[in-house]
């Protein structure tokens, strides 16, 4: 849970930051199949942006176009001011990429694998010799630096992948499904590591379909479906738009039950008040109404025993949004 507090403590990246990734009307077709459909995406410097959506929604294709690994059918991309189609080397020298299924040369050691990457990046030998052990050390793989990667677990490979990113010292890191296949503890550590990278000023774009994990680290998210980005914004914004808030405040109070209920209903931003037990009320509200609810209960002559808030979850937003979207399309 410390991750949640960490993310809520850091202020969400504001939209004033310089845009480091910008796509406009970006489209990719494979024959008749449209993988990415008129995507307009902007990611600002220093923020963590999450591309969310089911498998096959076009997230990986988008990432490949950002890196210049596949050519867009139409539309434009700018990454750090460069066009990945025409200047892929400039882009790839500044952007680190962690693919979803990460592989290494099994017969080589961790150090040798990174040494190859360092040479491909044109790092001077002396510099690489310093950076490689430092990066591997930092990812907690110092003891196995000279072991062949064949002996590594999935989590260790993932960390070696991040060590490779650190080696490049990129301005932007793009991760495709970074927590997929990690056990809960490893996933937790990984999310913590993402926040550390963010602290260092690195912009991070990650794709995932594991919404609850992404919610913990992303400043802004974009929901993908069938090649389109349906909505984007901070989790709170999305909750506001999709769930009309999505906060659930549980109030335990005794006293004049009807009066309390009326007082709670009269609060601004309250959508619904349910009485789940004789002395328990659940308020559905647009924002965190705890303080208002507390004074309302007291003013209505009640005695307050408990107050609890449940922030909106991305899972909920996602399922509600797509239910509405499909209903809307049906009607």
């Amino acid at each position: 849970m410390s991750v949640v507090t960490a993310s809520s403590r850091t202020p969400p990246a504001n939209t004033q930051g310089e845009a480091v990734i910008e796509t406009s009307q970006l489209t990719k077709r494979y024959g008749k199949f449209t993988a990415v459909d008129n995507l307009n995406l902007t990611v600002h410097r220093g923020e963590v942006f999450g591309l969310l959506g089911p498998n096959g929604a076009g997230k990986t294709t988008t990432i490949l176009m950002l890196l210049g690994l596949t050519e867009p059918t139409s539309g434009s991309v700018r990454v750090l001011g460069f066009d990945p189609t025409r200047e892929p080397l400039e882009v790839k020298a500044r952007v680190g990429y962690l693919p979803d299924a990460i592989g290494f040369y099994d017969e080589l050691t961790a150090r040798e694998n990174l040494a190859y990457i360092a040479r491909l990046n044109g790092l001077p030998h002396a510099e690489a010799a310093k950076r490689i052990p430092a990066a591997i050390e930092r990812m907690g793989l110092g003891e196995v630096i000279d072991h062949p990667v064949a002996t590594f677990s999935r989590g260790m490979r993932q960390r070696l992948g991040v060590a490779e990113l650190l080696l490049k010292q990129p301005e932007i890191i793009i991760m495709d499904e970074p927590t997929l296949g990690l056990d809960p503890e490893a996933a937790h550590d990984f999310l913590k590591m993402i926040l550390q990278l963010k602290q260092e000023g690195i912009t991070i774009l990650l794709s995932s379909h594991l919404l609850h994990q992404v919610q913990q680290v992303c400043d802004r998210v974009g929901l993908f479906s069938n090649g389109r980005m349906m909505i984007s914004g901070t989790v709170a914004e999305l909750a506001q738009r999709v769930l009309k808030g999505g906060y659930r405040i549980t109030v335990q109070a005794s006293g004049p039950v009807d009066a309390i209920r009326r007082a709670l209903l009269a609060l601004p931003g309250v959508q619904k008040v349910e009485q789940t037990q004789p002395e328990t009320f659940v308020i559905h509200g647009a924002h965190d109404l705890r303080a208002d609810a507390a004074s309302a209960v007291v003013n209505a002559g009640g005695r307050l025993y408990g107050l609890d808030v449940e922030a909106p979850s991305l899972d909920e937003i996602y399922s509600v949004y797509f239910k509405e979207a499909t209903n809307g399309a049906g009607s």
């Binding site: 025409r86 200047e87 080397l89 952007v95 693919p99 592989g103 099994d106 491909l120």
Partner: protein
């Protein structure tokens, strides 16, 4: 919908005009070459084949030396005999090479590209600041250099054994002829290397790629000569049994058989290693007028004789590599 498609195509046009890549396509080439060469030289697969080729070299050369000791004084091209003489039950060393070199080349290339996909290293490597060109070219050059290294070492070994066993140094012409033979052998390997690369781009399964490449090799080594003679009979039938007709048929058959890199290689090696050879086809008596049968040709004439074969080997290598290159450039990176 139709309108949308139209808008699409007009929007794509300026994009294609502006599609000029920046940066050198060879960035990172030598890093790839160094890594791949290290892989080849340390791989068990290569070591087995190296031992095999070493044994055949030692075996055949030793057998030849047992036979030619007596004639050392008379034969001016005794060193070339080390490569070409067959002593029962062993075939000549060039025979072994025409068999083993394709095997080595294919074994280095058949999993070059699909192996990267299967190990899931492709997207990681291509996310580094290099073009695909450097990766494929690097893989080809690494195989080519490895081949050159191994074959040169074998060449030196044979020459060294000759020096020790025969007790006299090779003449300048012998060194020159055997060096040209070495170049022809390396490019003969280059063809199979490039072919292996093509198959490794086409097939995702390394086993399929290996079998495909080996099938092509077998086809050309064993079946193509039979097919060539059958086809020649169809294309240029002998109806009246005239000399012209017979000659034409033989010429057609020869032209067809030269599609096979094996034929090119065998002819090239014969032409350069056997100075007495004047033609690969039939010699008419009129062409032999004034010639002394069995007299050696000078180096320049032998070179001229095998020049088409040598350039054919080089051209086939380049063409096959170009094919692999085009296929690889068009491939989608996501597996």
């Amino acid at each position: 919908m139709a309108q949308a498609v139209k808008v699409q195509s007009t929007a794509a046009q300026p994009a294609s005009q502006a599609r000029r890549r920046k940066g050198s396509p060879w960035t990172g080439l030598w890093a790839v070459v160094a890594k791949e060469m290290a892989d080849h030289l340390s791989s068990v697969r290569m070591q087995i084949l190296e031992v095999l080729i070493l044994l055949t070299a030692v075996g055949t050369v030793y057998a030849v030396m047992q036979g030619v000791r007596q004639t050392v004084g008379q034969d001016p091209f005794i060193f070339l005999r080390l490569f070409t003489t067959a002593r029962e039950p062993l075939p000549a060393f060039v025979g072994f090479l025409s068999f083993l070199v394709p095997l080595i080349a294919i074994s280095m290339a058949f999993d070059a590209v699909n192996g990267e996909f299967n190990r899931r290293t492709m997207s990681r490597v291509l996310a580094q600041p290099i073009y695909r060109d450097a990766l494929l070219m690097g893989k080809f050059l690494a195989g080519f250099f490895t081949l050159a290294l191994v074959l040169t070492a074998i060449w030196l070994l044979v020459m060294g054994m000759g020096l020790l066993g025969l007790g006299l140094p090779p003449s300048g012409e012998e060194v020159a002829r055997s060096l040209i033979f070495l170049v022809a052998t390396i490019f003969y390997g280059g063809i199979w290397l490039a072919l292996g690369l093509v198959f490794s781009v086409i097939f995702r399964q390394p086993a399929t790629a290996a079998l495909g490449a080996l099938a092509v090799w077998l086809f050309f080594t064993i079946f193509w000569s039979m097919l060539a003679s059958l086809l020649a009979r169809v294309i240029s039938p002998v109806t009246y049994g005239t000399a012209q007709e017979l000659l034409r048929q033989i010429e057609v058959e020869q032209a067809l058989s030269r599609i096979s890199p094996n034929t090119l290689y065998v002819e090239a090696t014969l032409g350069i290693l056997n100075p007495a050879i004047r033609s690969f086809g039939i010699l008419l008596p009129s062409q032999l007028e004034g010639a002394i049968i069995g007299a050696p040709l000078p180096l320049s004439q032998s070179l001229m004789l095998m020049w088409p074969q040598l350039t054919g080997l080089i051209a086939a290598t380049i063409l096959l590599f170009a094919l692999a290159y085009v296929l690889f450039q068009r491939q989608e990176i996501r597996a």
